[in-house]
């Protein structure tokens, strides 16, 4: 459990730093991906159980399943969330392509026509 927390803390700090401090739009998307991965790690670690079995239910021994298997729900949640993150990343990168076409740069500091 400790490894998970340490990794999660590292990933979250790296992701937030990458999203905020990096000027490049593509790097911002990468940072967003890292940060989302941190959340997926946290979410899947909520279902963790020391020495648990794979959550495949067999009709004969429901009691055994309930006592020893890991929680299957966070895995389903993370799968859903990964697909969502995929579409956000795809949309973000296509917007980055269009932004490069319009502004001739990916530097977000230079794309500040709308302000005030």
């Amino acid at each position: 459990m400790l490894e998970t927390l340490v990794t999660g803390a590292l990933l979250s700090v790296i992701g937030i730093y990458c999203v905020i401090a990096k000027k490049n739009l593509v790097k911002k998307m990468i940072g967003l991906g890292i940060f989302t991965n941190f959340i997926h790690l946290m979410l899947i670690s909520t279902g963790f159980r020391e020495g648990g079995i794979a959550p495949i239910i067999i009709r004969e021994n429901v009691g055994f399943f309930a006592a020893y298997s890991v929680d299957p729900l966070p895995q389903a949640l993370v799968l859903t969330s990964i697909v969502i993150q995929l579409s956000v990343t795809a949309l973000g990168l296509s917007i980055a392509i269009l932004a490069f076409r319009h502004f001739n740069t990916l530097d977000t500091e230079k794309m500040n026509k709308l302000k005030g």
């Binding site: 999203v19 959340i39 969330s81 269009l98 319009h102």
Partner: protein
């Protein structure tokens, strides 16, 4: 019937891509509006169990009066926007309607669901389709607004997911009613609550989170501006309310009062100095959401009634103003305030009523809810009343700016406005006047929602009891 709402919207969204007939999307969104309308007149709480699973395990949709009220606003605005954009969007209309169907799916899904992860999924459907809609024109402004909204929105919804993960780790359940039984007020729960409320504040554009909204609205097609300022804002406020409701923390809430007051004043002051009319209306929408958040922070039933009433009135007024200004932009093609002269008497009357109503001039609907907010805030602290009245005065001041740009313009453009664009404007104007003259009509709609908000036990037993 409610099970098929999402199916209809999603199926029509993908059919639009293949078949490219506008009437599919229009029919689907209007049908969803009538479904929500039928739902609104049901007396008891409706629980829809997907796949027949009982609530703590399966996904449920739970519709009480509060859901139905917000859903009615959302579906109503979505259908008016749909009718409005038949002529307003000139090219690639099937893409627009596909995204609009998906956005309505997301809005209604977040509003009606009773499961917190399901809420996150619909929240993301809403977010992704609205990023696409912000980038719809694919020109410089649209792309800039879109990527700002995309990065901010995705980071916000990631933090919302983190809050949901913490909640799941602490309680092991995702159902609202079950969560309401299991939450306590310890520090871990409060972290989760803060993260989720922050995610919804981003959608409602409360002040430290508001910066995407003017930039995004300046780039979007104007019907989307109307939808962002009404439906999405109402949804953000609903999310905050529902979370506080689940946590049983609907008493006097200093955080919401402070955030709401700052939002109200900052939005109004910033709207005062804008030159671009879309941007001004965006800031005006932010300011009106500030009133709502301040009112629901009071924690009294008068405060809730005032806040919910102002959500309704803000939707009507801001929708009216965005659509009317959209008609002007349709003819002149200019977005700056000093080149907006137009020669069309109906439109001028409608815009004038909208501006006066936004400023809170009786006998229009904006006055009623603002009056209720002043009354509710007087019981908490007279200082808040003074601030709210100041913000109202600033609202009138920037309303006058729109007034003078429309009525005292030097050059007036000629042009014919299509009927489908004029009809929603007229409908909203009539509603504004009717609710202003007969305020008890609006109160009759709002009061059941307030009662539902104050009765937590009813919500829990409807979901969990009677399996």
């Amino acid at each position: 019937m409610l099970e098929y709402l999402i199916t209809i919207l999603i199926v029509s969204a993908f059919l639009m891509l293949a078949v490219r007939r506008d009437f599919i999307a229009i029919a689907a969104i209007l049908l969803s509006f009538f479904m929500i309308l039928a739902l609104f007149f049901q007396s008891q709480i409706i629980v829809v169990r997907y796949g027949g699973w009982t609530p703590p395990f399966g996904i449920v949709w739970e519709v009480d009066k509060l859901n139905a009220f917000i859903g009615l606003i959302i579906a109503g605005m979505a259908s008016l926007v749909t009718i409005y954009s038949i002529k307003c969007i000139k090219e690639r209309r099937h893409r627009f309607y596909t995204l609009l169907c998906l956005m309505t799916t997301g809005l209604l899904g977040v509003c009606l669901t009773g499961d917190i992860f399901n809420m996150y999924v619909f929240f993301e459907i809403l977010s992704i389709s609205s990023y696409g809609l912000v980038a719809f024109f694919l020109d410089k402004n649209a792309i800039e607004g879109a990527f700002k909204y995309l990065v901010m929105g995705s980071l916000g919804s990631s933090l919302l997911l983190l809050g949901i993960a913490i909640l799941y780790g602490l309680t092991g359940t995702l159902n609202f009613a079950d969560l309401a039984l299991k939450v306590s007020h310890s520090r871990e729960f409060m972290i989760a609550l803060g993260l989720i409320i922050g995610g919804f504040c981003l959608k409602a554009a409360i002040v430290p989170f508001h910066m995407w909204k003017p930039d995004a609205i300046e780039g979007t097609p104007i019907p989307m501006g109307a939808l962002f300022s009404t439906a999405t804002a109402a949804l953000g406020v609903y999310g905050i309310l529902r979370l506080l409701f689940v946590f049983g923390m609907l008493q006097l809430n200093l955080m919401l009062i402070i955030l709401g007051t700052i939002t109200m004043l900052a939005g109004a002051l910033l709207a005062l100095v804008q030159i671009n009319v879309k941007r001004m209306l965006a800031y005006s929408g932010i300011s009106q959401v500030g009133y709502v958040v301040m009112a629901i922070g009071f924690g009294t039933s008068a405060g809730f009634a005032a806040g919910l009433y102002h959500i309704l009135n803000n939707a009507l007024i801001k929708g009216l103003l965005f659509m009317a200004i959209g008609c002007v932009i349709y003819i002149t093609g200019k977005e700056n305030l000093d080149e907006m002269g137009i020669r069309n008497r109906t439109l001028l009357v409608c815009t004038g009523i909208g501006v006066l109503s936004m400023a809170g001039v009786p006998p229009l609907n904006g006055f009623v809810s603002k009056w209720l907010i002043f009354m509710a805030s007087w019981e908490i602290s007279p200082l808040l009343t003074v601030l709210a009245i100041t913000a109202s005065a600033i609202t009138l001041a920037y309303g006058l700016k729109i007034f003078s740009s429309l009525f005292f313009a030097q050059k007036r453009a000629e042009g014919k406005i299509p009927t489908t664009m004029l009809v929603p404007v007229i409908i909203l104007t009539i509603l504004c006047v009717i609710i202003g003259v007969f305020p008890q009509l609006g109160l009759a709609v709002v009061e059941p929602a307030v009662n539902a908000l104050l009765n937590q036990n009813q919500y829990i037993t409807a979901a969990l009891g009677g399996g």
